[in-house]
């Protein structure tokens, strides 16, 4: 009976219902997309590093695991020492060059031969390896997003590069240039930002790590598994705060709209509340009706929010193919819980106010 009354009330005021549900949908969609985008980007970056195929990452002392933030190069000759460590199969240096034209990208300056030996080599969708110093390799996603073709000249770091090849994505960066060119651009010589190290067997990771620690220079050794575990929003400076702030804004939107909606509803339905009171409805009964109505609005909004997030994800990926959006069941659950909780909290004061109305005054309300 109460369900029917709640549904009738909701259907009786379609605009209010639509606006309230839309607010909740925006809340849910915003939470899912913001979290999905940040987590997606972080995880996608991590997967690309993992995709290089190394077991260990060697960086200068005190450098950040966020590669774009640590360009401090190490001498290239360290690579020779690393290669001599027992159970090391391959070593590949990479020099990071930060490009901010057309979005922020880390360009890998690589020695193609060693990089190929370590990673198993690129899969070329078109074109082939570098043939000159001003050649660039781009991955298929970047190429598609920027409509880049093999042989095309592209401006990068204030220089014209010829696209030598389009490679399968997933090996460290989206853009690769010869190591020597990267050194020229940064004004350094025989330097690398990182060394990727592959062991003969994964079981040797620990012993190789210890051996590298014993080398002079105190270089930072990061097993790839540890790196993957570090690549979460919790470990990225400011990202968690950003996500929390965005979630806070989204929840506030939902809370305020439901609060306003239920508050005006109570005013509008003062007389109806008086009628229920005259029939003997307790305060709890009236509070339950209002909260259930808010809950139902919230559920409709949550479902719409899921749909909106799915559509939003498609739109984002269509517009920005290099981005990654991860919509996870867990965050769908979190977003729904936040929306429901926000709605119930938003409806609670109006519900309490309704329950405390004087029945005689409520019945006399015009």
């Amino acid at each position: 009976m109460v369900n029917r009354m709640i549904i009738s009330n909701i259907l009786h005021r379609p605009v209010r219902t639509a606006v309230s549900a839309l607010a909740v949908a925006i809340e849910v969609g915003m939470v899912m997309l913001v979290v999905g985008l940040t987590h997606g980007m972080v995880h996608e970056n991590a997967r690309r590093v993992e995709g290089v195929g190394a077991d260990l990452l060697i960086q200068p002392p005190n450098s950040s695991f966020l590669f774009g933030l640590s360009q401090a190069p190490m001498p290239l000759k360290i690579g020779d020492r690393l290669a001599q460590v027992p159970h090391v199969l391959a070593v590949a240096p990479a020099l990071f060059v930060l490009n901010s034209v057309g979005g922020i990208n880390v360009i890998y300056g690589i020695d193609l031969q060693s990089f190929t030996r370590l990673s198993g080599g690129f899969v070329y969708h078109a074109g082939g390896p570098f043939t000159g110093p001003m050649d660039i390799l781009v991955d298929d996603i970047y190429a598609k997003a920027n409509r880049i073709k093999v042989g095309q000249q592209i401006n990068m770091l204030n220089h014209q590069f010829r696209v030598a090849g389009i490679v399968e994505h997933g090996k460290g960066a989206r853009l690769f240039i010869p190591l020597a060119t990267a050194e020229d651009l940064l004004g350094v010589q025989d330097r690398a930002s990182i060394f990727y190290v592959k062991c003969t067997e994964p079981g040797y990771v620990e012993s190789v790590t210890e051996a590298i620690h014993d080398l002079p220079g105190k270089y930072q050794v990061l097993p790839i598994k540890e790196y993957m575990s570090l690549m979460t929003s919790n470990n990225l400076p400011g990202l968690d705060a950003f996500i929390t702030a965005m979630i806070g804004i989204a929840v506030a939107i939902g809370f305020l709209v439901i609060f306003l909606s239920m508050y005006t509803t109570i005013t509008e339905r003062t007389r109806e509340i008086g009628i229920l009171k005259s029939l003997g409805a307790s305060k709890g009964y009236i509070i339950a009706i209002i909260l259930r109505e808010a809950g139902l609005l919230s559920v409709v909004g949550i479902l719409a929010g899921y749909g909106g997030a799915a559509v939003g994800r498609k739109a984002i990926l269509a517009a920005f193919p290099t981005l990654s959006v991860e919509l996870t069941f867990l965050w769908a659950l979190y977003a729904a819980s936040l929306a429901l909780l926000g709605s119930l909290l938003g409806a609670f004061y109006p519900a309490l106010r309704a329950a405390q109305l004087d029945p005689v005054d409520a019945l006399a309300y015009e």
Partner: protein, 223 residues
């Protein structure tokens, strides 16, 4: 036999800012179970306040109010609400149906609030007696005033209240519909020994009752 309603020196004072407005100034009233009582008097004489106090919608300022053996002056708001749920039925001048519910739902909601669930036999008997079989699926806006008031009466008596309190039940009806509603209240009183206390301005309506009480300035002036 104890009266179902007994008030002694019942007073009710409303406060409007710093001004005290006495609505009831010492009402002594007894109503026996099964009586049909009409309360008449000019506007502002305290009729509606008396009805609200007897229905537990508001508390008295002083005096005693015993309804079916329960002393309202000693009851909390929650206790009076519970009492109202089980023992009192209201019929209002403006019908006061819930606009989003059908006639059937408007009647059934009283049973739901009472918490004893839907009683189809009682429902059927009341609906047939009030001639509402064809109107049950309609919402209030699709019913005439007379039909709406019949639905309101059905809602008021569906839970078998001890007392039916009617506040100007014919006040918004034409004479034909007024007569229908009054006949139904009379039938309820005669058939089910329903105790009814009805407030009215209308002498013809009051004439249907067994007993007429006149009020003026918050007091009973004749019984």
């Amino acid at each position: 036999m104890d009266p179902i309603i007994a008030t002694r020196d019942l007073r009710k004072v409303y406060r409007l800012g710093r001004v005290e407005v006495p609505a009831l100034r010492g009402v002594d009233l007894t109503v026996q179970e099964g009586e049909f009582v009409a309360v008449v008097g000019p506007s502002g004489c305290g009729k509606s306040t008396l009805l609200h106090v007897l229905g537990g919608l508001t508390s008295p300022s002083t005096g005693s109010v015993l309804v079916d053996g329960n002393d309202f002056t000693r009851m909390s708001d929650a206790d009076r609400t519970r009492f109202r749920r089980h023992k009192i039925g209201f019929v209002f001048q403006r019908f006061n149906l819930l606009p989003t519910l059908t006639a059937q739902q408007n009647i059934a909601i009283a049973q739901h609030i009472q918490g004893n669930g839907f009683n189809p036999h009682r429902f059927q008997a009341i609906v047939e007696m009030l001639g509402l079989q064809e109107k049950l699926k309609r919402r209030p806006y699709a019913l005439s005033g007379g039909e709406q008031q019949r639905v309101a009466i059905a809602r008021a008596v569906i839970c078998e209240p001890k007392i039916l309190l009617a506040d100007e039940p014919t006040g918004n009806l034409d004479s034909e519909n007024s007569q229908v509603v009054l006949n139904m209240m009379r039938t309820l009183n005669r058939t089910f020994r329903q105790t009814i206390l009805m407030i009215t301005h209308n002498p013809e309506a009051a004439a249907v009752a067994d007993r007429i009480i006149r009020m003026r300035d918050g007091r009973i002036i004749s019984d």
